[in-house]
Symmetry: C2
Subunit: 134 residues, 2 copies
């Protein structure tokens, strides 16, 4: 069911510093910062040869990233995203197997403009997993 | 400098259950469990089309994973591994930029039989980063 690892998202306490570090110290292909007001985040995409890293920073105090950074002041890996071909079929299989989908189990439009769902970390080894239909 | 994301490593509280979940519920290509006594872990590799997931479980009480699971009983993302062409050149560039390399900065032979280094999480947005020479 799951396909490629679409991205790993890292919440960071200083977006400019983190982007500069990936660009300069780690020598990666780092894009410009962009606001995602619908998701309450400011993001920087890092393109690796086989996948992407997303640096996440709260856009405002209501951002879903605020609580994570309060608990993890240095930042940390926030979630990982697996691609699926059919997000409704994926959801139904997960629910049938007893896994919890966050929210009301209805896919939302994610930061890449594609349907996404998030799975409950406690059901997946403490990892917040995003599924994105590609 | 950094190339592909070689793998994401997830520490899990129940290796068999986690492997079964990735195989059945998530429908991924999950390999057999294998002991890595030199690293104190029992691992399962999951092959995705573009990268790998490593499930990590402590092989004994001295395992470096024990403390992580004590702090994160549900499990969690333990580290991520970026590939580099030349690990000594990578190390020297990191040290010159003020980043801390764990241990004595001498590459060790990692779980894949290749030279690896780990970078200090506090210098990298709270993420434990492994560099592997490929």
């Amino acid at each position: 069911m799951i396909g490629r690892l679409n991205h790993v998202a890292i919440a960071v306490p200083d977006l400019e510093a983190a982007a500069a570090q990936y660009r300069t110290t780690l020598g990666a292909d780092v894009g410009p910062a962009q606001d995602e007001p619908d998701h309450g985040v400011r993001v920087v995409f890092i393109t690796l040869p086989n996948t992407k890293i997303e640096l996440l920073y709260p856009l405002n105090d209501a951002s879903p990233i605020m609580g994570f950074l309060a608990k993890n002041p240095s930042g940390g890996i926030h979630h990982m995203c697996y691609e699926v071909d059919d997000i409704l079929a994926a959801r139904d299989r997960l629910l049938a197997d007893g896994a919890r989908v966050l929210g009301d189990s209805t896919p939302k439009i994610g930061a890449h403009g594609k349907p996404v769902l998030f799975l409950h970390p406690k059901d997946f080894n403490g990892c917040l997993i995003e599924l994105e239909q590609v």
